[in-house]
């Protein structure tokens, strides 16, 4: 677990977020992705590597080139990251409500 890159660290970078948005609609080759940025190609490659390592992107061999597409499951995990925090408070408050209802009857 510790060896794997943190997805939140991955999406903290604006270029990486832009890459995710770009690839979200269709799978693209590294070259096609890089063409959308002013950044040097090796820099884009590095970003792609990070996004792949944390499983936000999945690689697929298409002919001589590798194309990238987003990993829907992992993307959903990011969208839902606030859920556990909310559940934590919801559980606490549900408990509060139960305890105080009993308290009232005493």
């Amino acid at each position: 677990m510790n060896l794997r890159r943190d997805v939140f660290q991955a999406i903290a970078d604006p270029t990486r977020r832009a890459i995710l948005l770009l690839v979200a609609s269709q799978s693209m080759t590294a070259g096609a992705i890089a063409a959308n940025f002013d950044t040097a190609r090796p820099t884009v490659s590095k970003h792609l590597q990070i996004l792949t390592e944390c499983e936000l992107l999945t690689q697929e061999q298409s002919g001589r080139e590798i194309s990238y597409h987003t990993n829907a499951k992992k993307m959903k995990a990011i969208a839902d990251f606030i859920e556990p925090f909310r559940n934590m408070w919801d559980d606490r408050f549900n408990k509060l409500e139960t305890i105080m209802k009993k308290y009232k009857r005493k």
Binding site: R92, K95, L96, E97
Partner: protein
């Protein structure tokens, strides 16, 4: 059960809003925040100190079943107005996280229902996001540990 608690965390702002409506009269909702033995029950923590007055201090401590302290937090109460509001600071001990400021507002909705609005202000947006992620990261680790236990048993 329906999730009644709402979290509002605006992008790029160092605070968040937690709101919840309770099926409880206002005074009982407030009491649950003011009486140490009640706080202990719903927060699942030991209350070492809870001085419910302006400039009062508080300290909570949670231990694991073996008795090791796993969590300790403390703060100062800035305002304490029964059935209306509590303003306090919150700081986790032995962690790199900076102190946060909490505004709790209590409202009566009907005779039997009430609402709590909790605004938490953090030192930075980064810290807020970090705190939001804590239960998420913890959940991931838990899932991972469970998977590991499961795999161990298969061996």
């Amino acid at each position: 059960m329906e999730r009644k608690t709402k979290i509002h965390a605006e992008d790029g702002k160092p605070d968040l809003l937690i709101t919840r409506e309770f099926d409880l009269p206002l005074d009982l909702l407030f009491k649950a925040h003011a009486e140490p033995e009640l706080v202990e029950q719903w927060m699942g923590t030991k209350v070492l100190k809870l001085e419910t007055k302006k400039h009062g201090g508080w300290q909570f401590e949670t231990s694991d079943p073996k008795g090791n302290v796993v969590f300790r937090a403390n703060g100062v109460i800035h305002e304490f107005v029964p059935n209306r509001k509590i303003i306090r600071t919150f700081e986790m001990e032995n962690t790199p996280f900076d102190v946060q400021l909490e505004f709790l507002e209590f409202e009566q909705l009907t005779d039997d229902t009430s609402k709590l609005t909790m605004q938490i202000v953090y030192k930075s947006v980064a810290l807020r996001d970090e705190m939001l992620k804590l239960p998420f990261a913890y959940g991931l680790n838990m899932a991972h540990n469970r998977l590991q236990d499961f795999v161990q048993k298969l061996k």
